[in-house]
Each structure stands twice: as structure tokens, then as C-alpha cells.
Amino acid sequence: MAKTKKTELALDRKVTWRKVFQYIGKYWFMVVLSLLLAAVTVALTLYIPILTGDAVDLMIDKGLVDMAGILNLVKKIGIAMLVTAVAQWIMNTCNNYICFHIVQDIRKDAFHKIEILPLGYLDRHAAGDIVSRVIADVDTFADGLLMGFTQLFTGVLTILGTLIFMLIYNVSITLVVVCLTPVSFLVAKFIATHTHDMFQEQSRTRGEQTALIEEMVGNQKVVRTFSREAAVKEQFGEINDRLQKCSLKAIFYSSLVNPCTRFVNSLVYAGVGIFGAFLAIRGGISVGRLSCFLSYANQYTKPFNEISGVITELQNAFVCASRVFALIDQEPQVPEDEDAVTLGEAKGNVSLKKVSFSYLPEKKLIRNLNLDVQPGQRIAIVGPTGCGKTTLINLLMRFYDVNEGSISVDGTDIRHLTRGSLRTNYGMVLQETWLRGGTILENIRMGKPEASEEEVKAAAKAAHAHSFIKRLPQGYHTVITEDGGSLSQGQKQLLCIARVMLCLPPMLILDEATSSIDTRTELKIQNAFARMMEGRTSFIVAHRLSTIREADVILVMKDGNIIEQGNHESLMAQNGFYTNLYNSQFAG
């Protein structure tokens, strides 16, 4: 259990690496090309200072300049520079191609997995978390990967190349450079460890301030209602002052890294200058070579700093990658049978046999539930909150699979039907309305994209939605945002009904609870529902007495069991739980 819990959040290092290489593997050719070009670029970049140094060596003094030799070297520099430029551009483009396509592949895989993940997984995980895995995490991964490709290879190659070139030309100066550069890292490291606490302090204070901002700006009206502005400002000021102090510390001390490393580099530079000059006086090195060494000394620490940056970035990138891969690696829903039957237009006979189900194995919910629904019957499900009404809908739609027993439609076990055909046979309107960003037209058309505008209008009229749509600024072409934007809860509900009206499937599942809708609008929605239900097998999670009373079968659920079953009269006659429930509605 503990292990699966962990893999849900992130994969371990080894698996992540393997996965990353799998994705990269597809572009192996590009990767090899990019590496080769990186080698070429680095070698030539390092070669040019040598050529420059050689040229300087050819201009010894007045009248002692070998112009032919210089011209030759200038030509060489020109060729080297052009080759480098072209190689660099192709390499950059390759790197972009590899990274962006890997990212595209990962996102695609992640999204495809989302489409086939069991509802259970999605219900258990916050949408925001999954979105951030697919978007933000993949983005961070891409940035890290790109940086790795562009800077890690070239950085390492530059360091190696510089060392080799330096060693070839002069061992002793090389030793000076190699011995002095680590000082720069020590300084950077020293500052980083010492500023760490200051940054912690800063982010803690910042967090405290953000919390206050969220509370006091979010509820600004309450603040003003109680005329507490002054007190709140004072509170804010106190935190703000603390933030100023610790921010100044953190920012100042961390900003010392650059000047300090620059200082160390200057020391290295001076060291090479002095040492090299003495060597040159004794004839151990030419002036041109010395200038070449000076430029190497200047650049030598740069790739080190870059690499340390890249490594932190890469570690971060891998953490993010492991989170996405954990999502991609999730067990999908049970695949459909190969010989799964496509359900045509169902007659509407639904039967549940000995159905047991629970979300958590240790907490039984539905036990041994039996039910036989004839075509066209209206089934009302009533009971207190948490009794399993929504669960029943989940099972009928096969959002979840039963643990024991079976559910069948027109005599076929729904596990032998294709999910798509089963679900399109149900029209479902849930209590929580969901609309997508787009036009009203697109939203209604959702289940039947090929429907004409006339059909859409007819459906909207039937759902009592036409009149308010008409009054919207662009009518059916009004764009609404994902959460429905300016539409009221009732209007959104009407749109959802219109959406189902357009398809008019043979069976219906309605969760009619409308706690946020005022009773008058609810009445309109009721009428729309009633029209839809005519002649169709309907399952209704019922809150309203009229629905309950007119139902053919009332299922009274409690703690996952159907404790009473029958029509209104027979149930009232029993004088049991239903009678109690029914009467309690008038208690207030």
C-alpha cells in the first residue's frame, strides 16, 4: 500500500532516467548530430584564440611583421568562425527540435492516459495537481532538458578542451589556472550556504504577508464593514517592515556572488599574467600564446558556473519529470473485451443483480443490491446524504465497476458492452453543471457535433433555455468561459439539459438537486425534466416530493443499502424509514 502510494506521486530516480531516455531515444539521430556539432563548435571556439595568438606572434616589432602569415591566419580564423556559426545554429535548432518534440510526446501520452484513467483515480486526485503535472512540470522539464542539451555538453567539452589545449602549450601555467579556479567555487558556495537561511526567512515572511493579503484583500468588504482599515494596515505594516529587513539581507548577501567570483577570476587572470610574463621573459612562451592563455583564464571558470547551474536545474527537471511519468504510468481502467458488443438503441431494461461496491475495501458501501427496471419506468432514489445515491449513478454509467454481482442493460452485462455505446444510451444531467469554454452552440452540440443549428434551437426550446439564450449578447454564439461565467446556476443547468435534449438517448439519469437555485427557477427545470422523461427509463436522484410521488419505483437508500422499495402509497403504508423521511421535509 505504502509503495503504491509513493508511485502515485512520483517515480524513483532509476525509473525516471530510463523513461527520459526512452523519450529521447526516439530522436537518437538528432541527439548524435547535436553532440557532434557541439564538439565541432567547442573545438573551433577554442582554436580561434590560438590562431589570434599566433597572429600576434607574427607582429614582433616595427618592420618585423610577417603580413603574408597574418593574412593566412586571418583566413583561417574566417573559415573557423563561419563553420562554428553554422554548426552552432544547426545544433541549437536540433536541441530545440528534440526538446519541444519530447515535451509534445510526453504531454500527448499524459493526456491520452487522462482519457482512460479510471474515474476512481481522477476523483481521488485534485484536478489542479494533475493539470500542473501536465503543464507546469512538463514545462520545467523542457527548460531543464534544453539547458542540459545546450549548456551541459558544451560546458563539459569546453572545460576538457581548454585543459587539453592549455596542457599542450604550457603545463606550468595550466597548473596555475587549475589550482586557482576552485577558489571561485568555494567563495560562491560559501555565500550560497550563508544566504540560504536568509532566503528561508524571506520566503517565510513573504508567505505570512501573502496570507494576510489574501485574507484582508479577499474580504476587503468585511474589513470596511467593520471599519477595520486602520487596524489591518497596521498589521500589514508590521509584517512589511520585517519583510524589508530580511529581504534586504537576503538580496544584498546573495548579490555578492557575482562581484566575489569576478574578484577571484581577476586574481586568476593576474596570476596567469605575472607567471606567464616571467616565463615569457625567460623565453618559455611567446607573447601570442600568453594572450591566448589570458583569454582562456578569463573564460575557464564560466562553464563551471554554468554547469553547476545546469545541474540544479536538471535535478529540478527530473523531479518534475518523475511526477508526470507517475501520472503516465498509472494503471488505466479495465480495457474493453475484444468481443465487446456495441449497444444500439436500448429498450431500457436495466437490472442489477447482487451488486456490491465500495470505494475503499475496508468501508463497504453498497451491499447485495438487486433491482429490475422495466423499459420506460421512472425510478426515484431518495435517502440521506452519503447513502450511496451518487454511487449508484457511477455504477450505472460504468464510471466505476462493481466489485461483485452484475449490472445488465437489455439482458447484456454492461462489462461486455463498449463503454461508449453504453454511456451514449444514457442522458445524464448532474447536479454540478459543467460547461466548457466556447460558444453556447458548441456546448449544446457536445454530444452530437453534427447537429444543425435548427436542431440545437429546438433542443434549447424544449429545455426552456431558448428564451435566455436569445437575450445574450451574441445569442447562440455567445462565448462562455469554462465555469459558465456570467450565467446563473439555473441557466447553466438549463444548458446542460438542452445538451441532453439534443441527443435524447433512451435512458436518463438525473440528479435533480438544485440547492443553489431558487425555487421558481427550479420549477422550470422540473418541467424540462418531466418532458424529457416521457417514455424513457429514468433514474432520478430525487429531492422534490412531486418527483418522488410520481415515480414508478422509489428506492429508499440508507448506508448503501436499499432499505425500502415500492411506490409512494405502498411505502407510506409501511410507515417505515420513508414515511419518516417524507414527513421530516415538512418539519421546518
Partner: protein, 611 residues
């Protein structure tokens, strides 16, 4: 932007010193190639070891002085930037807390929060980096050129050409790619939207069997994003190779020309090396400068957004008032007749009991209309009623009928756009805002508590409340048992937004917060929705017990909550659909009947049978 500079004024000294010290550092850096040239020409050229040592020490000294200057500059830059943002944040927070309800509605809370947090942080780092780099980079670039001039005028001309060309390439590529990166961000947002929709709407999408279509939709957006990224990538991939070519072309020219000059004795070897060194410094600094400019434009955009929040309020209020006056006259004529028509039951009420209510002049709504700023329609139209001191007023109606808007007018949260409200005979707008609100106890729809303790939350209602007063208010609000059930009693911790209390508990505590100040007018805006019927009833009963002092407005969807009220206002789509007691309204107000019977269908049956 200018608005914000006020907050930088206090740090004028720092703002001047920081770049100044940076300038010093850069100047010292520029001297290094000169020293190296001297080492080569004098030290090596004449085999003078002493000179080499002297110059070497000189380089170390330059480095040391440079370090000192840089550290000083960093300190002043950090001080100015942090100080500036601290001041700005305090000012902005203060401004937001003082915004009127109308302004707050328009600005939106989440935007305000972003402005106060991430935007100001961006501005801070923008100021910091600007102070640090804005002088340094240009000085190195142009300084290098000037130094080249001191060595040789003709060779320096290469710099004169190379610098603008490099600048054009670097800035050009950045200018081209910046808007493109914005487009890439837009593409990413689309991918994000589809992903989120497929998670939040998974049941609907699967119910309609749209998985394949969604996959296609996602992939279209996904590929679109990759295409855009590749396009931008290809352009920005040019930056390094092109600048590399330019710099090296310049180097080639310098070597060739330098060779010629050395040959005729116009230049020394060391000087050629110095000039080449200057050339190599330019590119790095130009790239830094370009990055700085991007950072600055971003910071500038954030600064503009922050400034625009600071501008909300004064200006808006003026133009708002003007616009309203103009509209008023035109609407007056048409609406009057309509209003009379709409209030059919109002007529009967006014006619029947006008005499008795004449002296009820504690609070008067006189033909009040309200139109929110930016809204197309009036939210309240021609509302008139009178309230006697100590009365309980119920307000009922469907969602969006204007119930909350109506009671929000009483504490002056929004100004009326037409008509007037009189409290004890004096127009509401003439009251001092703080004074007016001190007399009111408002329990908002959303029950919010603030981080702290129960005690600190109650003190919001009355800063000098005694322990006894607190318990009394809790008792009245049916919240005593909540507090007694907590280990810390009054000092029990309250988490942010009161998350550690249930909805019903929060509601009762916010009621207690309003009651503790013993308000003259108590407004309960759908504040008992999370309470069960029994508690709701007890609460109403206890509120009736303070009748001699307090006039109460109860907004509710539940007919049972307002049934006992002395007067019930029935709102329908912003208009007064009826006014009277429960019995009166049940007799002749169709809207009220509809609402009531939809909640008590049993009684309708009774009516039908009786009738």
C-alpha cells in the same frame, strides 16, 4: 509609472550612489587590458621583471578596489529596491483597503492580490537590476570603445561599426522574439485549458463518449504549441552564431590592420592585444544589457499595472457620478409607470394601512434605484418602503432578484443611483461613513473569520468589548456551545478564513461578531443558510429579544426564516413585487405565493381544497 517614482524619492541617495559605484567598478575593469599591454610591452619587451611584478600588483589592486566598489553598489541597490517596494506595497495595500465596494467589484480580488505580491516583487527586482546594471553595461561597451580610441583612432573605428551592428542584432532578435514568446504562452494556455476541462468535465465527456474527439482537440493544440516554439526557437537560435560572426569579423579586421600598424611602428604588440581584449568584452556586456532591458520592460509593465490600481477610486468616482446624472432624467419617465404597475400588491398594502405606518420614519427608502457601475440594467428599480424602529424586516425573492443589493444600501456600501434613503430623517449620504457603519451590525452572505483567535475575531465587532459582552453576543448568536466546546474557549485558534470551523459554526460566530456591538440595525444577509431549522428558529427568537434596541433585516430564501417578520419585502427581478406581513402577502402577492408554495406544497393542496 511616474506615480510610483514618489516612493523612490526617499532613496534618492541610494539611487545615485549605486550606479555611481558600479561605474567605478566598470572603469577599473576597463583599465585591466591597459595594464596587460604594459606587462607585455615593457615587462616582457624589455625583460623587466620588476615592472611585471609592479603591474601584477596593480591588477590585484584594481580587482580589490573594484570589489569594494561593487559591494557598495550592490548594497545601495538592494537598499533602494527593497525600501521602494516596501513603501509601495504598504501604499498599495492601504489604498486597496480603502477602496469603495463598487471599485472593489470592478477591480476583482484576485487581481489585487497579484498586484500586491508578484507584481511588486517583479518591480523590486527590476529596480534592483536597473540600479546595478543599467550603467555598468553601457559603460563597459562604450568605455571599451573609448579605450580603443586612446590606443589607436583608426582601429577604434572598427568598434564604431561593430557596436551598432551587434546592438541591432541583439536587440532586433529580442524585439522579434518577445511578442512571439507571448504567443507561445498563449498556446500553452490553450493546452492547459483543454487539460483542465477534461479533468473537471470528465463525467460529461465520458458520458457523451467524446474521448477521441478530445484527444484530437488536445493534439491540435499540442502540435500548435510545438510549432510556435520551434518557430521562436529558430529565430533565437540565430543570436549566438550571428554575434559570433560579427565579433570575429571585427577581430580579423583588427588583426590585419594591427599587423600593418605594428609593421610601420605605429603600434606595439601589447597594444594590439589590448585592443583585441576590449573587443571581447563588448559582446558579453551587450547580451547582459539586452537581458536587462527585457527585465525592465517586464518590470515596467508590472509597475504600470500597480500604478493603475493606485489610480482606481478618485478618478472613477468622478466620471461615475457624471454619467449617472445624465442617464437619470431619461429613465425617470418610462420607469415610473412600470413600477406602479409592478407593485400591484404594493398598492393594496399602501392603501390599506397607510395611516398606521405614517409615523414609521426611522428608515425610509424613497424611490430608490441602484445600477452597478458597468452593468447594463438596473439591479433595483424604484424601491420604496418605511421601517419602524425595532421592526424585523424579511426580504425574500429568487436568486438575482436584488435582495442582497437592497440591504447593502443600508450601511452605504453602494451609493443609490436614484432616489434617497433616510435614516432618522437624514439622508444616508450625509452621514459619516465610519459613524454610520458603527451603528450597523452586518452579517455578510459569505461567513468569513480571520486568522487569530475567537476573541480577536469578536473584537472586530467592538474593539473594547469585555469578556461578558462577548459571551452575551455568543449566547444570542447561538454560538455559546461552539466556543464552550473548544479547548481554548475564547482564545481558541482560528485558521485563515476560519477553515477550522464548519460553515454553520462560522455563520453563528459572524452573527456574534455583528451582535457584540449592539447594533441599531442588524442585517442578516442569508446568514443562516447553513443552520438547521431548529437553530435557525432559536436564533430568530433570540434576535427578537433585543427588539427594543435593534431593527433587523433578514434576507433569506427560506420562507420559514422570514415568516414571522413584521414586514416582508418581496423582490422580483429588482422590483418590489409585494410588501406586507406573511398573511397579507399570501393573500394577494402572486410572487410570494409561488415562493411559499414551492417550499410548502402541502399547504397549497390545502388551499386548493379549501378554495
Amino acid at each position: 509609472m511616474k506615480r510610483l517614482l514618489v516612493y523612490l524619492k526617499e532613496f534618492r541617495k541610494e539611487c545615485i550612489l549605486a550606479p555611481l559605484f558600479k561605474l567605478l567598478e566598470a572603469s577599473f575593469e576597463l583599465l585591466v587590458p591597459y595594464v596587460v599591454a604594459s606587462i607585455i610591452d615593457v615587462g616582457i619587451g624589455t625583460s623587466n621583471g620588476q615592472h611585471v611584478i609592479k603591474m601584477g600588483l596593480c591588477m590585484i589592486l584594481l580587482a580589490l578596489v573594484g570589489l569594494a566598489a561593487a559591494v557598495t553598489a550592490q548594497f545601495y541597490a538592494a537598499k533602494a529596491a527593497v525600501g521602494f517596494s516596501t513603501k509601495l506595497r504598504a501604499a498599495l495595500f492601504g489604498h486597496i483597503e480603502d477602496l469603495s465596494f463598487t471599485d472593489m467589484d470592478q477591480a476583482g480580488t484576485s487581481t489585487m492580490i497579484t498586484r500586491l505580491t508578484s507584481d511588486i516583487n517583479q518591480v523590486q527586482s527590476g529596480v534592483n537590476m536597473t540600479l546595478r546594471l543599467f550603467l555598468r553595461s553601457p559603460i563597459i561597451v562604450f568605455g571599451a570603445m573609448i579605450m580603443a580610441f586612446t590606443i589607436d583612432v583608426k582601429l577604434a573605428l572598427v568598434f564604431v561599426v561593430a557596436i551598432p551592428v551587434l546592438a541591432v542584432v541583439v536587440f532586433g532578435i529580442m524585439l522579434i522574439t518577445m511578442p512571439l514568446y507571448k504567443k507561445v504562452q498563449g498556446g500553452l494556455d490553450k493546452v492547459l485549458t483543454v487539460t483542465r476541462e477534461n479533468l473537471t468535465g470528465v463525467r460529461v465527456i465520458r458520458a457523451f463518449h467524446q474521448e477521441e474527439a478530445e484527444k484530437k482537440r488536445f493534439q491540435e493544440n499540442n502540435e500548435g504549441l510545438t510549432g510556435m516554439q520551434m518557430f521562436v526557437g529558430r529565430i533565437s537560435a540565430c543570436m549566438n552564431p550571428v554575434t559570433y560572426v560579427i565579433v570575429n569579423a571585427a577581430v580579423m579586421l583588427l588583426i590585419y590592420q594591427g599587423g600593418l600598424k605594428v609593421n610601420v611602428g605605429e603600434l606595439s604588440q601589447g597594444q594590439v592585444i589590448a585592443i583585441l581584449n576590449y573587443m571581447s568584452q563588448i559582446l558579453v556586456e551587450l547580451v547582459k544589457l539586452a537581458n536587462l532591458i527585457i527585465l525592465m520592460t517586464k518590470a515596467m509593465a508590472c509597475a504600470d499595472r500597480v500604478a493603475s490600481v493606485l489610480e482606481i477610486g478618485t478618478e472613477n468616482a468622478k466620471s461615475f457620478a457624471k454619467g449617472q446624472v445624465k442617464e437619470k432624467g431619461a429613465e425617470d419617465i418610462g420607469k415610473k409607470g412600470e413600477a406602479e404597475q409592478a407593485g400591484a400588491c404594493l398598492e393594496t398594502y399602501v392603501g390599506a394601512s397607510a395611516k398606521d405606518r405614517k409615523e414609521a420614519s426611522y428608515l425610509i427608502f424613497d424611490d430608490v434605484s441602484l445600477k452597478y457601475r458597468g452593468a447594463g440594467q438596473e439591479t433595483l428599480e424604484h424601491i420604496s418602503f418605511r421601517v419602524q424602529k425595532g421592526d424585523t424586516i424579511g426580504v425574500i425573492g429568487g436568486t438575482g432578484s436584488g435582495k442582497s443589493s437592497l440591504v447593502n444600501l443600508i450601511p452605504g456600501f453602494y451609493p443609490v443611483t436614484e432616489g434617497r434613503i433616510l435614516l432618522e430623517g437624514k439622508n444616508l449620504s450625509e452621514y459619516d461613513e465610519v459613524e454610520l457603519r458603527r451603528r450597523m451590525g452586518v452579517v455578510p452572505q459569505k461567513a468569513v473569520l480571520f486568522q487569530g483567535t475567537i476573541r480577536s475575531n469578536l473584537l472586530w465587532g467592538k474593539p473594547d468589548a469585555t469578556e461578558e459582552e462577548m459571551w452575551r453576543a455568543l449566547e444570542l448568536a447561538q454560538a455559546r456551545e461552539i466556543v464552550e466546546g473548544k479547548e481554548g474557549k475564547l482564545d481558541e485558534e482560528v485558521a485563515q478564513n476560519g477553515r477550522n470551523f464548519s460553515g454553520g459554526q462560522r455563520q453563528r460566530l459572524t452573527i456574534a461578531r455583528a451582535l457584540i456591538r449592539q447594533p441599531e440595525i442588524l442585517i442578516l444577509d442569508d446568514s443562516a443558510s447553513a443552520l438547521d431549522y431548529a437553530t435557525d428558529a432559536k436564533l430568530r427568537q433570540s434576535i427578537r429579544s433585543i427588539k427594543d434596541r435593534t431593527t433587523t433585516f433578514i434576507v433569506s430564501q427560506r420562507a420559514s426564516s422570514i415568516r414571522q417578520a413584521d414586514q416582508i419585502l418581496v423582490l422580483d427581478d429588482g422590483q418590489m413585487a409585494g410588501i406586507g406581513t406573511h398573511e397579507e402577502l399570501l393573500a394577494d402577492c402572486s410572487v410570494y405565493q409561488e415562493i411559499y408554495y414551492s417550499q410548502y406544497p402541502e399547504e397549497r393542496k390545502g388551499v386548493a381544497v379549501n378554495g
